[in-house]
């Protein structure tokens, strides 16, 4: 049995967690997430402010993750830290702290790719969410459609060509005069909206697309955002807000569901795993379940704390990497962008 302390500081959440287990038998012992509220006034994350806040949160957050697990640093086998992708200044706080903690306590250090963490997050809650599966990772920074043949063997099938799904929610929320982050506000409002009032075209979804076409799995949301902008200009926002929110969300969800369905069918997967902050959207998860039921696939969506950025998923992915003998050197750096490890040809 192995115990891993995970540290995550890639964006605006300072998080630490402890998991223990072997292989896919893993238990989450603790998870602490400190969200930085300060960015709300800016309508988006300010990298320098995020980095400063990580430095004044990292010690209490990590200490609390250990104490909630009723463990000391000496009980831990390895420290897993997010090193990419993300805001470099923010990542460097976690990376530097993790390195010095590992060095001074004689523990192993494991470097974890943030998006690989998201692939593992759901399995902490749903033990059966193991490969092979189709994964849709949707957040403010990423939209990735991945075929997970096995842990560590990933086919990147599709991604966004412009805005990430969460970014599209935030931008449309701003157009509709809703607060940041926009996802929860749009979902709530869309429930009251009439789906027939504003029907936006589904971006990059056409019947004549075939496997191998460059746009078969990719998505694009900037055109949809522009369509919403035009609708906002034409309409009285006060009376149309909920209807526009509904139209936008329907288009985004239908696009993601269609692309995910294509991926699951093409690779004959019977499990679909969602991850990332947008996976908190219940309407999306519901639509995904309805569609996947038709092809006999189960959908696993993580609870909000595991969907958004968190260190439990980093510890969980770190356990996999640790068990495979991976150790990070003391000169480990942070990277704004880096391909998923273990990519195989799609």
């Amino acid at each position: 049995m192995t115990r891993i302390l995970g540290i995550e500081t890639s964006c605006d959440e300072t998080s630490a967690a402890v998991v223990e287990g072997t292989g896919d038998e893993v238990e989450q012992k603790s998870l602490v997430i400190l969200s930085q509220d300060v960015h709300k006034v800016f309508g988006g994350v300010v990298p320098e402010i995020a980095s400063r806040a990580h430095l004044t949160s990292i010690v209490p957050v990590v200490n609390r993750a250990l104490s909630e697990a009723d463990l000391a640093l000496s009980d831990i086998d390895a420290i897993a830290v997010t090193y990419a992708p993300g805001l470099v200044g923010a990542l460097l706080v976690g990376v530097s702290y993790g390195k010095s903690l590992a060095f001074a306590s004689g523990r192993a250090l494991v470097a974890v790719h943030h998006m690989e963490g998201h692939l593992f997050a759901t399995q902490l809650q749903h033990p059966e969410a193991v490969p092979p599966f189709t994964a849709l990772l949707i957040s403010g920074g990423h939209t990735l459609l991945v075929d997970v043949e096995a842990w560590g063997r990933y086919r990147l099938l599709g991604q966004t060509r412009d805005d990430a799904a969460g970014e599209a929610f935030d931008k449309v929320a701003k157009l509709l005069g809703l607060p940041y982050p926009g996802g929860p506000h749009i979902e709530r409002l869309a429930k009251e909206g009439d789906p027939s009032r504003h029907r936006f075209s589904r971006p990059m979804v056409r019947r004549d697309q075939r496997v191998g076409d460059p746009d078969y799995y990719d998505v694009s949301f900037s055109g949809l955002k522009t369509a919403v902008l035009n609708a906002v200009k034409r309409a009285d926002v006060e009376t149309e807000r909920a209807h526009i929110a509904r139209g936008f969300q329907d288009a985004l969800i239908e696009t993601l569901v269609e692309k995910t369905s294509r991926a699951a069918r093409a690779h004959r997967r019977t499990r679909v795993v969602l991850g990332g902050g947008v996976a908190c959207n219940q309407t999306l998860a519901g639509a995904m379940r309805t569609r996947m039921a038709k092809i006999g696939a189960d959908v696993f969506a993580p609870a909000p704390r595991l969907a958004t950025d968190n260190a439990a998923m980093i510890a969980r992915a770190g356990l996999f990497r640790y068990e495979h003998g991976e150790r990070a050197p003391l000169d480990l750096n942070a990277y704004a962008s880096l391909p998923l490890p273990g990519l195989i040809a799609a």
Binding site: V41, R52, L55, S96, Y97, A104, L330, L332
Partner: protein, 222 residues
């Protein structure tokens, strides 16, 4: 018995680490902090500590800036991790003081203005007095000055300048802790949870926000 100190500073893109036995420098390293693939400060700290690691260290001292935001944060994160894992207390010291005190062989006698690049044509500055015996005392607060004002400022207070490309070529160095034992900030350890460097400037987005809103944002770090 004298105490063993691990001193770190990363207020510029060059970082330094020194192991001190009381006021004697046992080992020191200077490294370029980062390139595209490597973060070199942590390996340099490990190398300076040697096989004994932190076991022989009584306390840790970290340069507190002002200076490069990212470099300061890397050093502070490393210092906090070392302190937490080893249970040793962490102290902070001005990087401008380390610029004067870190001069190899000790700074020359007289009044000095220590200068560090603050970007946008400005420098962080602070005056220090150095006695013939090599004792260093603070002679002014930290100020941000326009580069074209430096010469006049130096004349006005009868000081020479120290820093990159100045009268005295100097950069902050961790070894300077050996000459600053009496400095006020080395008398009491910092709170590990809340301590942060003196960045010298607010984040740019915060400056703009406060200008627009006419009030201070959340009292966050300055």
């Amino acid at each position: 018995m004298s105490e063993t100190i691990l001193a770190l500073d990363a207020s510029t893109y060059a970082a330094s680490v020194a192991i001190l036995d009381g006021n004697t420098i046992v080992r020191e390293r200077t490294v370029a902090m980062r390139d595209a693939r490597h973060e070199r400060f942590m390996p340099a700290v490990a190398d300076a500590l040697g096989e004994g690691g932190l076991a022989l260290v009584d306390r840790i001292v970290c340069g507190a800036g002002p200076g490069s935001f990212t470099s300061l944060r890397i050093a502070a994160s490393i210092a906090k991790g070392l302190a937490v894992a080893s249970g040793r207390p962490l102290f902070s010291i001005s990087s401008l003081a380390l610029l004067i005190a870190g001069v190899e062989g000790g700074p020359p006698e007289g009044r000095w203005i220590a200068l560090l690049d603050a970007m946008r044509g400005e420098s962080f500055s602070q005056a220090f007095d150095v006695t013939p015996g090599g004792e260093i005392s603070v002679a002014s607060e930290v100020r941000v000055v326009r580069d074209e004002e430096i010469a006049a400022l130096a004349r006005a207070i009868g000081a020479r300048t120290a820093g990159k490309g100045r009268d005295l070529e100097a950069a902050p160095h961790a070894r300077g802790v050996a000459r600053l034992g009496a400095h006020r900030s080395l008398q009491a350890p910092v709170d590990l949870a809340s301590w942060e460097p003196d960045y010298g400037r607010l984040a740019e987005a915060q400056v703009r926000w406060e200008a627009v809103h006419g009030r201070v944002l959340d009292g966050r770090s300055r």
